[in-house]
């Protein structure tokens, strides 16, 4: 076994897909000679040529719209948005065209486009470099939204995304780019839309994804060691389509659920999950579903990001509010889903 980073796994996924199908092309700002600002496309232009891994002009709307045109003619574009917040200029192309063309043409035009996007914070980046923008995309019918948290999933899900006949917003948790695993590539791929149980547990289900998976696992360890709470951790891996089955099975078993997401909480993925769990598992629940999220504000400057980001303590505080006796006490359940203990 060799050590493989998350970044290497993504690179290899694109390589293998490009080798398999000449219609797979990679496009974006600085993806060529530089290999992308995070080096995820390193060497692709060298090895596949400038027609397969293309440095585009600096225009996100242009990149996305150009990809629409290419997809109309049978290509499978994999486009890179350099950073989460620099995807916003392309928003119109993504939500009005990439997401809707299949529907608008009654199935005649597919949009097999992957929109790769580094997201999330905790890396000391200046403004506009640390957004969690998944909420905008999950709210847009027609898009798949995928976010791996391990090198194996990075490989597997990116390959699946590239060969999906529907558009995929592929959100890469940038704090995990240099995380490693013992892994020999290629690994077999798994279909989009299945969550993974990262840690089994009996007392509470902690549902999370992307950059917060390591936080959840850490919190579960501390909870076991210090509080004797046995936390089951679910890594969603795919936000759309949503794996209701894995989540329901777990919550029915544990009777308690906490959703952890880095994005601002209001109107976000956590709200969707909490509602679904409540609708489907109401009679199994011993406590309300609680959320732990980023604060409802623009992503702050680096010196304050650790106050902003949901950390292990905030997760543990929230788990602690899940009424471990049979007397439900709802007085501390905060609106907006954050732990209010005043």
């Amino acid at each position: 076994m060799s050590q493989t980073t998350f970044a290497q796994a993504l690179n290899r996924a694109m390589r293998d897909a490009m080798t398999q199908d000449p219609d797979v092309i990679v496009m974006g700002e600085d993806v060529g000679a530089l290999g992308g600002v995070f080096r995820i496309t390193d060497g692709l232009t060298r090895d596949f040529g400038e027609d397969r891994c293309i440095d585009t002009p600096l225009a996100e709307a242009g990149i996305a719209g150009f990809a629409v045109g290419m997809a109309m003619q049978g290509f499978r574009p994999v486009i890179e948005m350099q950073f989460d917040a620099f995807g916003y200029p392309a928003f119109e192309q993504v939500v009005s065209h990439i997401a809707k063309l299949r529907n608008r043409t009654q199935g005649k035009l597919a949009m097999p486009i992957v929109i790769r996007m580094p997201y999330a914070g905790g890396i000391g980046g200046v403004e506009h470099h640390c957004d969690s923008s998944e909420g905008y995309y999950i709210h847009t019918p027609g898009l798949h939204v995928v976010t791996p948290s391990t090198p194996a999933d990075a490989y597997s899900l990116l390959r699946e995304s590239i060969f999906s006949d529907d558009p995929v917003v592929f959100m890469e948790p940038k704090p995990l780019y240099w995380s490693k695993a013992d892994l020999d590539l290629p690994v077999g791929t798994e279909p989009i839309g299945r969550a993974a149980v990262r840690r089994e547990g009996a007392d509470v289900t902690l549902i999370t994804y992307g950059p917060q998976v390591p936080t959840a696992l850490k919190a579960a360890e501390v909870a076991a060691a210090e509080e004797d709470w046995d936390v089951e951790v679910i890594d969603l891996r795919t936000l759309v389509p949503f794996d209701d089955a894995t989540v329901q099975t777990s919550v029915r078993k544990t009777g308690r659920a906490v959703v952890l997401a880095e994005a601002q909480g209001f109107g976000g993925m956590g709200a969707e999950i909490a509602a679904r769990v409540q609708e489907r598992c109401f009679h199994s629940l011993a406590a309300p579903v609680l959320r732990v999220s980023g604060l409802d504000m623009p992503y702050p400057p680096p010196k304050l990001e650790h106050t902003y980001l949901p950390g292990v303590d905030r997760v543990l505080d929230t788990i602690a509010r899940l009424q471990w006796d049979d007397e439900p006490d709802l007085t501390h359940a905060g609106a907006g889903g954050t732990a209010v203990t005043v």
């Binding site: 980046g125 200046v126 504000m297 010196k303 304050l304 005043v342």
Partner: protein, 383 residues
């Protein structure tokens, strides 16, 4: 207002007064026809002085990045003339719309260097008061300021402010839709906006040839009816003359102007960038011989407008300013965690107040348990 296409077209060659070796060159016929005049020696002395101070500031900022005092720093060394001369061409009441690379321009504008570096330091985003300094926050999302400059110029005009809005922008950013929308709005509303494209040849790693097929970026104004010009961006005299003329044109109500300055980014894109991946040392060497400070200084000395003693004086002043910047940047900034909640809305929402209470409780908890691992972080963030 209709314009003749000849009025819009840039000079076929970049406007230039000083050759790289600091000698005067003949102005091209077209440039002469536009009425560009060689600036007065005092004006050029002011440009030279600001460039020396600016470059020292830039070097100090690069050094601070290496010491971890700045999260990131995009240097503008080599672009000194484009950073300094346009600012000196402005009047007090004019506005500036800068990007992350325009730190030297903002220092020239008179903004406290610590304030200029606040964004790049990773503290709060805009370290100066935009209204008081008539300088918009440095824009990180590319080209978005191009539209703000058009809107502000229109508003200033309506208020009778007799003010120009200067928008600084890079070559790569001219590919963004916002750049084109900005030019079009500026033209349609006949606003007093001056766009300066600092064509430093690269957008991170992407060379100009992969950015555009236009022979000069200055042509991008023509389609919108915007008067356009190109200038040797490493010739401080030419940049000053062209920018003064552009501001005059805008101020007189004749509409926006687009100027492309041909220059070069001597350093990597930022400290995080590896420029050896996309450009050769030979290319960098070639531009080292075009240094705008050397060029102007050579002319000033040769013409007897500047002597060794004055040079030493300004150098000493630059050293002093750099030392002051170093000292002040070495103080850990006080970052109060609860300041997070202060300016999300004019009035915080009830949800935000709840979250504030949560963070307050967390902080109190951390402070109370002196041995808790959170304590260090807490001290760190509240010091």
């Amino acid at each position: 207002m209709t314009s003749d296409i000849a009025d819009l077209l840039p000079c076929p060659e970049p406007v230039r007064f000083l050759a790289p070796d600091g000698t005067r060159v003949e102005l091209s016929e077209q440039a002469a026809a536009r009425g560009y005049a060689f600036p007065e020696p005092e004006e050029l002395l002011a440009v030279w002085r600001a460039m020396v101070l600016g470059r020292r500031f830039d070097a100090q900022s690069t050094a601070l990045t290496k010491q971890g005092r700045l999260a990131v720093y995009p240097s503008s060394r080599g672009q000194d003339a484009c950073q300094v001369a346009p600012i000196l061409a402005l009047e007090e009441q004019d506005w500036v719309f800068p990007t992350y690379r325009d730190s030297m321009a903002l220092v020239t504008r008179g903004i406290d260097p610590v304030g200029v570096l606040t964004l790049l330091r990773g503290d709060w985003h805009c370290g100066y008061d935009p209204q008081a300094t008539r300088t918009a926050p440095q824009c990180t999302p590319l080209a978005t300021q191009a539209v703000h400059a058009a809107g502000s110029a229109h508003a200033l005009d309506r208020r009778g402010a007799d003010a120009v809005a200067l928008c600084l922008i890079g070559d790569g950013a001219t590919s963004e839709g916002d750049f084109h929308e900005g030019l079009n709005f500026a033209a349609v509303f006949n606003t007093p906006t001056v766009y300066l494209v600092q064509n430093n040849k690269y957008a991170i790693s992407v060379p100009l040839a992969k950015q555009t097929k236009a022979p000069t970026l200055a042509y991008k104004g023509i389609g919108y009816g915007v008067r356009s010009e190109q200038v040797d961006g490493n010739d401080p005299a030419a940049v000053l003359a062209v920018m003064q003329a552009a501001c005059r044109h805008a101020r007189e109500g004749k509409g926006p102007v687009l100027v492309e300055a041909h220059t070069y980014r001597m350093e990597a894109h930022t400290n995080a960038d590896d420029a050896t991946r996309y450009r050769t040392p030979d290319e960098v060497d070639e531009w080292t011989g075009q240094d705008p400070i050397v060029r102007l200084q050579t002319w000033l000395v040769a013409e007897g407008h500047l002597d060794e003693e004055q040079i030493e004086q300004v150098r000493a002043e630059a050293e002093e300013q750099a030392a002051d910047l170093r000292d002040r940047m070495n103080l850990e900034p006080v970052v109060e965690p609860l300041s997070l909640f202060e300016h999300v809305y004019a009035e915080p929402t009830p949800q935000l107040l709840e979250q504030r209470a949560m963070v307050q409780t967390e902080l109190a908890g951390q402070a109370a348990s002196a041995d808790s691992p959170g304590q260090d972080a807490m001290e760190e963030s509240t010091r």
